[in-house]
Symmetry: C2
Subunit: 245 residues, 2 copies
């Protein structure tokens, strides 16, 4: 068959064209996070290709964590809910290796005008409204992470301090449940910095303590940036773990 009259990814392997079509269905919310997509046979029929070609497309999307295969059950849209309070994008782990629990304390949630720096990262116009959140996260009672989060107000209108503090799961699950925004991937830039007066209070540490600075841009479908974070980690008992290959 031929899909080369389709507007998307015309001159490329069939499975790339199928991938683009599947991505379009994800991006348009035809299939919601956590929901099953049609079976491989159904999709093969819909797109008039063989099951093996659909399979290769789904394989690549599930390798990117956009879809999740479950043998005997079906293929599902990846979600930050249903992960049992896990933090998929959090690389912090205790030096001890013990499992740990993060306790959230949200401090502020304000709407204000974006400065040029945040606007640039969020690909919005300078001066557009953004939501700014502050929180502290504790590990076994010890304040360990101080974090500022910026979101475009247009997508997260109405987000309040009360709703944040009423939510016990990762905020990425909240974004999905209440704002139909699924985070697909993120990029982090990490530096070492010294605690200033404000942060030293939040983390109950002396001014000048070494802290890990973690700046994150998170993207939803279509590589659209929708969240900026600036975090400070106290790494005296924890570390940021990374695997290279």
């Amino acid at each position: 068959m031929s899909l080369i009259t389709e507007p998307v990814a015309s001159f490329s392997p069939l499975y790339e064209q199928i991938k683009a079509l599947l991505l379009a269905s994800l991006q348009s919310s035809e299939w919601l996070p956590g929901a099953p997509i049609p079976s491989e046979m159904e999709l093969a029929a819909r797109y008039a290709v063989s099951q093996g070609t659909v399979r290769k497309a789904i394989d690549e999307l599930s390798a990117q964590n956009l879809l999740v295969r479950r043998q005997g059950k079906g293929t599902f849209v990846a979600t930050h809910q249903e992960e049992g309070g896990q933090y998929r994008f959090l690389s912090l782990e205790p030096d001890s290796g013990q499992p740990f629990h993060l306790k959230n304390q949200f401090l502020a949630c304000k709407t204000l005008q974006s400065d040029a720096y945040i606007a640039d990262l969020l690909e919005i116009n300078g001066g557009d409204l953004i939501i700014q959140i502050e929180r502290v996260q504790c590990i076994s009672g010890r304040p360990t992470v101080f974090e500022e989060i910026w979101l475009p107000e247009e997508l997260f209108r109405g987000l309040s301090l009360e709703s944040l503090n009423a939510w016990s799961d990762p905020v990425y699950a909240l974004y999905e449940a209440k704002y139909s925004t699924h985070m697909v991937r993120a990029e982090e830039k990490i530096k070492a910095v010294l605690a200033d007066a404000a942060i030293s209070i939040h983390l109950q540490l002396p001014v000048g303590s070494p802290l890990l600075s973690v700046e994150r841009v998170a993207f939803t479908y279509g590589d659209k940036p929708v969240e900026i974070r600036r975090a400070r980690y106290d790494t005296s008992e924890q570390h940021y773990g990374n695997k290279l290959n």
Copy 2:
């Protein structure tokens, strides 16, 4: 066909058994880094399976960066040489985004008895001989990385300060060229620390400056740890970049 009489990975999909056989050939140095492995058809004949099954095995190994496919030419064993002086495992990048060049200055290379900590990470016996290397790396003339490296002496016998300073490519290329040891993957633990007196001299920074501490364990085939590193990065003009998905 049936490979279930083979000793390796007996009760598993055929392509997993093929993967194990390919891995065994890599680990035994039957195919050396940079060299081509037999064609898919040859391997299919050798193992008496279909080409598609060999293909799936190779696909997974190349996804893990153990093999590299080159259309029209063949499939090659991954190597740290031929990468044009690139540092595959180095996550440091300038804030400016500009391309950069790292200049190596090796300071010391000693053979000594391992302490318990390093021996444990290298999975050798405490007191066994290890080689300890110290170096500084500069970006545009500015000392930016101070690094200590520990290697098991048994595998790297004869490594000297002179041979290190005569080598301009990544040390992982040297390990391959002179010690037949190819690094497959690595794990890093990152913290923020303060510069002590010794490091402040090496990096020409005030004592108490914030530094990124990066501890790495690198593994060769068979998940065998063969190199430990402890580095200190000056992140005032650089950052450690990480992608999450």
